[in-house]
Symmetry: C2
Subunit: 174 residues, 2 copies
């Protein structure tokens, strides 16, 4: 067995987005027990000039989706960035996971050396990386960054999570 | 060119630890400008029951080091968890990077299907995963988790960082 480009990222994206959803579900349960509106968390930030939780979840989803679409030259569904509730953010994760599940491994495998050009920042700049480097040094760290930042936001706001929730999702404590 | 177990993790660990060091260097520069003791950040936490920055940096280093040592059946140097300054934490990163630089790719390649058993939690429990799954679903997410949490801690404390610092380290803005 050897690693492939698809096996290095598709199952990782799927696991991490499922675990992100698990953490949001625990936030909902926490809010129900503490009797506060869980949707106040949607605009929570760790710093005034950091993006709020809603954006962290959207970008985690889109970083995975767009990486797969770019490497595989696939059309990915677009989602409006209009979620205002945790339930809607969980739905975005579900839609992203549903699309990722349709992607065949051979759409990505063999693209290791192909140039991938993608936008960076908001001024129209682009960056070009080979497929393998793009997955390892751009797409994966981006997904992990936004999943972990969401976790940190929830922890900072008192949600009872541990690293096992991040690593194992619904299998945590099982 | 195809991915290998070593190429999926060694350069990623090295890049992410170098970028973590870059973020700590920016924290030092920020503290110098604002004239506060940068070492107050060593005990900063995002929640009272989360580990402080010192532990986040130590675990980021050790998660990378121990993963490579376990997969490659190598002896890794042990470091005392006694850092009290940011400079000492940066030194731990440097020592970890120095050791990672000595690891040959062929120590890891070919270990994809070997059982890796490692401790989890503090009660002596262990977990066993195949080499490839261990790297993709345990070691890498752990390193990313602790690097990103350190970033979040610094951002929460006002250090002027952007995601490019996390993704590109010293090449950010270059």
């Amino acid at each position: 067995m050897s690693l492939t480009l698809s096996s290095a990222c598709l199952p990782v994206f799927q696991t991490m987005l499922a675990n992100l959803d698990h953490c949001l579900a625990k936030a909902e349960a926490h809010a129900a027990v503490r009797k506060f509106d869980v949707n106040v968390l949607v605009q929570a930030r760790l710093a005034p000039d950091m993006l709020p939780l809603a954006s962290q979840v959207r970008i985690a989803c889109d970083a995975a989706k767009l990486a797969v679409a770019r490497v595989g030259a696939l059309d990915a569904p677009r989602f409006a960035d209009d979620e205002t509730t945790l339930a809607q953010l969980r739905e975005r994760i579900a839609k992203t996971l549903a699309w990722l599940a349709t992607v065949p491994a051979n759409a990505l495998d063999g693209q290791e050396d192909r140039d991938i050009t993608f936008p960076v920042g908001r001024d129209g700049a682009t960056r070009t990386m080979k497929g393998e480097a793009y997955v390892k040094h751009w797409a994966l760290p981006n997904v992990y960054f936004h999943v972990t930042t969401t976790y940190a936001l929830l922890r900072h706001n008192g949600v009872d999570l541990g690293k096992a929730d991040y690593l194992l999702g619904a299998q945590a404590g099982a």
